[in-house]
Amino acid sequence: MDQGCIETVWRQESRRVLATLIRLLGDFDRAEEALNDAFLAATERWPQDGVPANPRAWLVSAGRFRAIDRMRRRSRFARIAGTLAVIEEGEMATTAEPIADDQLRLIFVCCHPELPPDAQVALTLRETCGLLTEEIAAAYLARPATIAQRIVRAKARIRDLALPYEVPEPKQMLQRLDAVLRTIYLIFNEGYAASHGETAVRVDLCAEAIRLARLLRGLLREPQSELEGLLALMLLNHARRNARTDPAGDIVLIADQDRSLWDRAAIAEGAHLAEAALRMRPLAGYAIEAAIAAAHATAPTAEATDWARIVGLYDLLAQADTSPVIALNRAVALAMRDGPEAGLGEIDALLAAGPLTGFRYAHAARADLLRRLGRRDAAREAYVAALELTQQGPERRFLERRLRALGSPPP
């Protein structure tokens, strides 16, 4: 029994214990205080008494006991005395099912649609994943004070609006789950794109997002196609992480990636999940996106990619989601199936329609097709247009390399 053991228990149990304490104590800050108390009690008692058989139940009970004790000492105010009575009478369930529900409650309240998206992300990463405020700030290249305020305000909003700490009713489940999945996907994409600046040492947000999706999957009683699809999509994209950049940190396109660097186990799991999700009804957008990612990831070579299937999946996706970004991706796939000319026509039409004119990938995709058609001047113009819209270091270097290959120096 040493400090290392308590550290391990903290990593494994602290989020679960917190989730239950929030329910029992009715307040985030009080629960966090109680969680600290519980672990302090553990460092005092466990070295002598040994680790209890059920450390989680022990910690919940210790935290609750100390919270009540603390509130009694402060209970000069009648208001707190009332709360205290409620807490003391509250059920003390520490069996598996309510604990799972407490974790779900925590996820659903952190991703409540009444909270702004950036607050949902910060709150979820801190309370559900257990990241420190400073780690979240580093991951988002934000100041710790900004993230701290975001979390404080989100908690105040939860309190002020009295957002219920509960698992949504089946009727609302789909809609509320949608908000949770959007938050998880935001976290994943931030890690995946590392959208600002150079890549530096950052908390692995992709791994956190995948962990969250797995946790959620284990907690929900009914399988949900959105969640299965999202987990599959994230696994398949994350499986290619070691091949997406070269040792210098430059982008390697999927066609040029060394497929032996892909994580085969993750691809197998992702493809399996994607296939199952695609058969579930109602069909979820994430399931179709996952099936597209699976088609890429399971192709033995870039040339062997089943572009006809990918175009078909994009057609299906476009029925559910009329976003121009999906139409752009479909155009790129179409160019692979039917030749650059076909894709170029689609992209030109999309750009003429307006909403994609400020989207760097639209210009980069157009430039690539023009390059393949040998239209060097037009390609150069399109690469320059893409470059003007690009901030991120590795993406800029990629476009500059393409410009140099066309025989013209970057502007």
Partner: protein, 124 residues
């Protein structure tokens, strides 16, 4: 991680306006909170400061020391004390700061400690 909670408040507008019983209660609450933080393993050190009338400002310029009196910055809210704490992260520190009894009257500035990097001495 370590954080310092700098307690600023307007002595004239708060303490001076309190009844002796209220002042006494504030003292009791402040000491009790220090004890609580100590019991929780959060407290490194907590001190209250004398009023800024007794401040001496010391500077060394071109090898010469000067000492002047008066508060460093003329504001209504003056530094009145500090609590150096050990907290899990910034939000944990904010939670602890919010429990400081004087937070009800003044402002607590929460700042993370900065570790001065150790530089190698140039050779020779």
């Amino acid at each position: 991680m370590r954080y310092i909670c700098l307690v600023h408040f307007d002595v004239q507008a708060t303490i001076a306006a309190m009844s002796p019983a209220e002042q006494r209660q504030l003292d009791i609450d402040s000491l009790a909170y220090d004890e609580e933080l100590k019991a929780n393993g959060n407290l490194v050190v907590a001190e209250a400061l004398q009023p800024p009338e007794n401040v001496v400002l010391v500077r060394v310029r071109n090898g010469a020391m000067s000492a002047t009196d008066g508060p460093f910055i003329e504001t209504k809210e003056q530094l009145a004390g500090f609590v150096l704490i050990e907290a899990r992260d910034l939000n944990d520190a904010v939670r602890i700061a919010a429990g400081i009894p004087l937070a009800k009257y003044g402002t607590i500035e929460v700042r993370a400690m900065y570790e001065i990097p150790q530089h190698e001495q140039p050779a020779g």
